[in-house]
Subunit: 368 residues, 2 copies
């Protein structure tokens, strides 16, 4: 299999991208085509053992900056790594495209260069969202805003295909993101989509899901939303985690000293006052102080890791005529490797063909 990696995209390129590509090529035997600034990529490759690996480099001198408008950048920069890489897929020289660069540009490029699967109205980005018991697949996480109900029905169908194929969920439960369970909750888009999905046989629709149902009660395997709403939901979740950790840090910093002094008092009284066994008591006190940290700290770290997008690799753009994986800009080498593995699975499972067949089989609701 031949997978294109945008080696110059992302916050830690080319170090993380090249290291991820080397690891992926070693693990799978795939050809990983590195697109980007050739000098930099070759210099980085030289730092790895690449013997026996198939890692061709394709030069693409331009970089799309984070401040650029996605669609304009794609048109203005034909020699950017995103455009050059996606063209390799369109021309049949590669099977999939992975980027940790400008996600808007990757999505716009995939839509313009690969085109849509026949019958699909708009693409959607499918992102794994951590929940209390595992994960749920959010579609759309930010590819298409100002959706019509018919778009959301297709997002539901494509999300179900991906959950079934790539994530091994036998009969994925599809929920519609809303601010209440009742069918009359949400805005007009949600209400109309609810009515369509309720009568639609193509997906296992479980009704509206509230944020609490989605994150805590594991109510759905696939959660459908407009791209603006889905993207905001993603960013709200990240922000609340950040808020809580910041608030905890601030609180500890401000009040740790008086509290530590107060907490030390009984320890000092029992361990440091003159008498026999002082050294032993002091040691026991320290061992005691370590005890709650042994229990609580790993629990906090476990959760931090679970909320970390990087272990999830990337998000496939569903509905375009090819495999395109959008990975986080802060992806490290492991995340890049995971994203490449995700692309490998999508090609192997014939994701595009399955979505295309689904369009022919399911009786689609026309746009409102």
């Amino acid at each position: 299999m031949r997978i294109v990696l945008d080696a110059s995209g992302g916050d830690y390129a080319p170090q993380a991208t090249v290291a991820g590509a080397v690891a992926a090529a070693r693990a799978s035997g795939d050809q990983i085509i590195l697109v980007g600034k050739e000098d930099e990529i070759r210099a980085e490759l030289a730092r790895h053992d690449t013997s026996g690996l198939d890692l061709p480099v394709v030069h693409a001198p331009d970089i799309i900056e984070m401040t650029e408008h996605p669609a304009q950048a794609i048109r203005r920069k034909p020699h950017s790594s995103v455009v050059v890489g996606l063209r390799l897929v369109r021309e049949g020289a590669a099977d999939a495209f992975v980027s940790t660069g400008h996600s808007g540009a990757t999505m716009a490029g995939a839509l313009f260069i690969l085109g849509r699967i026949k019958g699909i109205e708009r693409p959607c980005l499918a992102t794994r969202f951590p929940t209390a018991t595992g994960w749920t697949l959010l579609v759309d996480a930010g590819a298409t805003t100002d959706c019509k109900p018919s778009y959301l029905v297709q997002f539901a169908q494509m999300g179900a295909v991906y959950a079934r194929q790539a994530m091994q969920v036998a009969n994925p439960r599809v929920g519609l993101l809303a601010n209440g369970e009742e069918a009359n909750k949400g805005d007009k888009l949600v209400q109309e989509t609810h009515a369509l999905l309720a009568e639609h046989q193509g997906v296992n629709f479980v009704g509206n899901v509230e944020p609490k149902d989605m994150l805590v009660n594991n109510a759905a395997d696939v959660v459908v939303a407009d791209g603006f709403v889905g993207n905001l939901a993603l960013k709200f979740s990240e922000a609340v985690v950040k808020l809580l950790t910041t608030a905890l840090g601030d609180n500890l910093r401000k009040r740790a000293l008086p509290r530590t002094v107060a907490g030390l008092a009984p320890l000092v009284l029992t361990a440091a006052l003159p008498g026999k066994g002082r050294a032993r008591a002091l040691l026991a006190g320290l061992a005691g102080a370590a005890l709650p940290l042994t229990v609580v700290l790993p629990a906090l770290l476990d959760i931090k890791r679970r909320m970390d997008y990087r272990v999830y690799g990337g998000a496939p753009l569903l509905g375009v005529n090819g495999v395109a994986i959008v990975a986080h800009g802060k992806s490290d080498a492991l995340a890049v490797q995971n994203a490449i593995a995700q692309a490998h699975r999508a090609v192997e499972e014939r994701l595009v063909a399955t979505i295309s067949n689904m369009v022919e089989i399911v009786d689609f609701v026309p746009s409102a």
Copy 2:
């Protein structure tokens, strides 16, 4: 001042509502009119010392259930506490209305019975949202969905008035909730509203705010959103807090035992082995174990309290022709008292007249 309280609404009525009313009457000397099931309210009042307090009871036999459709319930139940209470305000027999009952019904009732302030297109619910450094005022938190840009401009203006008057922010910074700072981010509604607010002199517009800017970086005093989006944001924040605490609890439950055993080992080694000073070392060990808890636990509890909506009282419905405060269904007596105090301030500061004057002064953008 005369403030109507829906004494039969909310999860903890009539205990919490009556207790909150008694405390509010005692603190302010206001007349608090208790509307709801008379027998129950009088029985509850008998449990308090009400000497010298002005606490009339107005009988309203019907309750609007949480499962009922707001607008339909208002039409079908003219003898409900919400309808009877709001009528007292409309007829001039009271100055403000406070409810911890069905929030949708309270909003629908306030809109139908009090009507809109002349010139205001739609009302909005203004909710305090906890942030890393304090709070921000979210408008709209769920009163109006499927907004037009002109509605959001009015939400911005009304939110700024409330922040200035009731919350003592001299020149409130108004931000527009979006998934990116750039003016081209968001859906069409956000983009068009951004353009209107950018040229509008009535408010101190600071541009788009991302969730991170809003919650962590204290980027705006007032944050403007469509009611569906704002309500979802509120519920996402609550859900993420719940997710993190649930995940922490699960993790501790599953792994606490082996970790405690592992953590106990050094303590046992130093304190419990035979030799002199065992009792003292054991005491020191226990004192040591309490030390991190003394520092970390209060910090966790502080944050939990800051994220607790109850201390914030209630949310005013801005744009209706009267003071109406929507308080949380889980409000305890303190939260009810706070919501009544909020109503008192809004009347005192002449909130409705100020919004009404603003409509006359500011050159409004017509609906798109």
